[in-house]
């Protein structure tokens, strides 16, 4: 009898302990989990989050925002979601994101995260996303390919750039000198935008359509010329270009710092490929515009839909985005820049990081993203540029139509 009592008591205590130590559940939705190069890192780190059972859900980047919106509208609980910078205004406007000041504390955030980056995730005093990695989308070159073609210096002006592209083409007719995205309106819009900026054009000014200008036509005409001369391939998007870059078939292309990590994977050479990856300031046109790039960041957010375990959400976000050692591991394995003050300080000697961050100072935020119907505006801009690049419309027609359609959409 005594033995039975002891056993029962023991069982009760065990159950209580287990209950206390029972893990919280968190769903973590992102696209990095669906990409081969980043999957292992995410899986490893997710397992290390204290006291939280993280369920990882992956979607390709192309389907990501659509699925986030679907989850929000259908009330599906999502503790943590990876969000691209350009989607933030839209999601905040929809009320889809929770104010992380409540869970993580504004002070703690201000202490740990680099202030400029932290500010990118703020709106009306609320912190709707914690920057997980931040830099810019800039031109990345392949040093090996350049040297093989006799391009010894990074081109500084548009003429130099043009000449460099021609040299690369002459050295290797099968290569794609400039891997500009020429399919998928979303990508076309983001990347071509940089050239539009560089030539002094803007899509919008003060909330009104401003793309109907001589500068815009000049920029587009330049890109069209590159396509016509075979220096830009038709029908490639960034995924295809990344694959070709890894095989040494692309001279320059647009990518955020993930470029290095992806190239390690796709080239099959691992870290040995690193020295080929070089970031370069966008060539200037002599009009005073500094070398431009596009602000780029991944945020970790918590969706308001359903019944999220906010505490668990906080723990996951804190682990990935606020712990310097985790951030440094992210950097080491994937080449993604950290956002915490401590981690950034550690990397101040690294040339790759230092160069890129220096360039990012002149980066501008994606123009359509500021609007509610950014998806529609991006689609319009991308479609019209695509039409011009593929020779379906003349530069003039494309710009005029773009301005018309944008006016109609605002």
């Amino acid at each position: 009898m005594k033995r039975l009592k002891k056993l029962t008591l023991g069982a009760c205590i065990a159950a209580l302990c287990a209950g206390a130590a029972m893990a919280q559940d968190a769903r973590f939705v992102g696209w990095s989990y669906s990409e081969a190069s980043s999957k292992p890192f995410i899986e490893n780190e997710a397992a290390k989050v204290d006291g939280v059972d993280v369920e990882l859900i992956g979607f390709p980047w192309n389907q990501m925002v659509q699925n986030l919106i679907l989850r929000h509208r259908s009330g599906q609980t999502t503790e943590v979601a990876q969000v691209q910078d350009r989607w933030m205004p839209m999601l905040v406007g929809m009320g889809a994101l929770a104010d992380l000041n409540d869970t993580l504390g504004a002070d703690a955030l201000a202490d740990t995260v680099e202030p400029g980056l932290l500010a990118m995730g703020q709106s009306n005093g609320g912190q709707y996303g914690v920057p997980w990695t931040a830099a810019s989308i800039a031109l990345v070159g392949n040093r090996e390919l350049m040297e093989a073609a006799g391009v010894t210096e990074l081109p500084a002006t548009m003429e130099d750039f043009h000449a460099a592209l021609k040299k690369i083409k002459a050295a290797d007719p099968e290569a794609v000198p400039f891997g500009l995205s020429t399919t998928n309106p979303n990508l076309i819009q983001v990347e071509s935008q940089v050239f539009f900026w560089q030539f002094g054009a803007r899509f919008f000014r003060d909330g009104a359509v401003a793309v109907d200008s001589a500068e815009a036509r000049e920029a587009l005409a330049f890109l069209v010329q590159l396509v016509d001369e075979g220096l830009v391939a038709k029908g490639n998007d960034r995924n295809a270009t990344r694959a070709l870059y890894g095989q040494g078939k692309v001279g320059f292309y647009f990518d955020p710092p993930v470029a290095r990590g992806i190239a390690r994977n796709l080239s099959g050479e691992g870290e040995a490929f690193d020295e080929n990856v070089v970031v370069m300031p966008t060539p200037t046109t002599g009009n005073g515009e500094p070398p431009r790039s596009v602000v780029w960041a991944h945020f970790l957010t918590s969706l308001t839909a359903g019944s999220p375990d906010t505490e668990a959400a906080g723990k996951v976000i804190e682990h990935f985005a606020m712990k310097p050692d985790v951030q440094l591991r992210y950097w080491n394995e994937l080449g993604l820049f950290p956002t915490t003050k401590a981690a950034l300080a550690e990397l101040s000697d690294d040339a790759y990081v230092a160069n890129w961050i220096e360039l990012a100072r002149d980066a501008l935020p994606d123009e359509p993203a500021a609007f509610e119907n950014s998806a529609q505006l991006t689609q319009i801009i991308g479609e019209e540029i695509e039409a011009a690049l593929l020779g379906i419309k003349s530069v003039d027609e494309a710009i005029t139509d773009m301005a018309d359609r944008l006016e109609g959409a605002l």
């Binding site: 669906s34 679907l70 989850r71 599906q76 995924n239």
Partner: protein, 278 residues
């Protein structure tokens, strides 16, 4: 058939046979061929039909680096459930329309058949909020229900054509003998239309197996994905240029329907054409 007396007519026939067989089958052969090629042979501007160094690499990649088996499993579950339910419902409804008279019969039947003209993408606009509030969103059950309405109209029509030709005397005789309606349906009618039932089962299975739009929109969790979105989303990202794996995945995903179909094709063609064309 038309008797061909002249030699050149027979030649024309032979050429036509060759052209059509080539047109209809060559692409499939090419798909299979590509699936066995290593990347060096795929990324060549002058490819060959038979791989010089055939490899299982692509299939291995498809099995280990993608979740294709999971997608196959989900697809089989959803499609089989859908096919089963559709067959039962269609058989009941077809019998009702074919052998009974009740008010509104013609109108109802016309209404249900006309559903084939409703644009599916438009339907989706309302179905997904409906599914959200009823908790069916992102569930395989929800998908099964959504698919039901795809194949139902055509299935009812196919079975209707079968049953309408069954002699009324048989049924009357059974009734005279005191058999209940349910018994008549189960023991008398259904055995007589088994080919039609098989046709309808296959037809609705195939429809849901092949679907992309609904499964892409109504299922958002990776572990519940079926084959359409599974294939598409897997090869949209980093694996975009991996045509070898994409072709291998395509072959894998096509096998179940091809298998099932080849076993039961006799009934299928018979059933499809029986009603529509007399």
């Amino acid at each position: 058939m038309i008797p061909l007396s002249h030699a050149h007519e027979r030649w024309i026939l032979r050429i036509l046979i060759a052209v059509f067989v080539f047109f209809l089958l060559a692409p499939v052969v090419w798909m299979i061929s590509t699936s066995f090629k290593p990347p060096e042979e795929i990324f060549r501007t002058s490819p060959s039909l038979i791989p010089d160094a055939p490899t299982w690499r692509n299939y291995l990649r498809a099995f280990t680096e993608t979740d294709i088996l999971k997608y196959l499993g989900n697809g089989l579950i959803v499609s089989s459930l859908n096919a089963g339910l559709t067959t039962v419902l269609a058989a009941l409804a077809a019998y009702g329309f074919a052998k009974f008279r009740f008010r509104g019969r013609k109108g109802l039947m016309l209404l249900m058949i006309s559903a084939q003209m409703f644009p599916y993408a438009v339907l989706l606009i309302s179905i997904y909020p409906m599914f959200q509030w009823s908790g069916l969103f992102d569930t395989r059950t929800g998908l099964v229900l959504a698919y039901l309405v795809f194949a139902l109209p055509a299935s009812i029509y196919i079975l209707f054509s079968y049953m309408v030709n069954l002699p009324d005397e048989l049924i009357e005789a059974a009734r005279m003998d005191g058999a209940g309606e349910g018994l008549i349906l189960r023991e008398l009618i259904l055995p007589l239309v088994i080919p039609g039932l098989i046709t309808v089962f296959l037809y609705s299975f195939m429809w849901s197996w092949n679907d992309l739009l609904y499964s892409l929109t109504l299922i958002t969790s990776e572990d519940k994905r079926t084959i359409g979105p599974g294939l598409l989303l897997t090869f949209l990202g980093e694996m975009e240029q991996d045509w070898g794996a994409a072709m291998a995945g395509s072959v894998i995903v096509s096998l179940p329907v091809v298998l099932v179909f080849s076993l039961l094709q006799r009934f299928f063609i018979q059933g499809l054409t029986a009603g529509a064309v007399k």
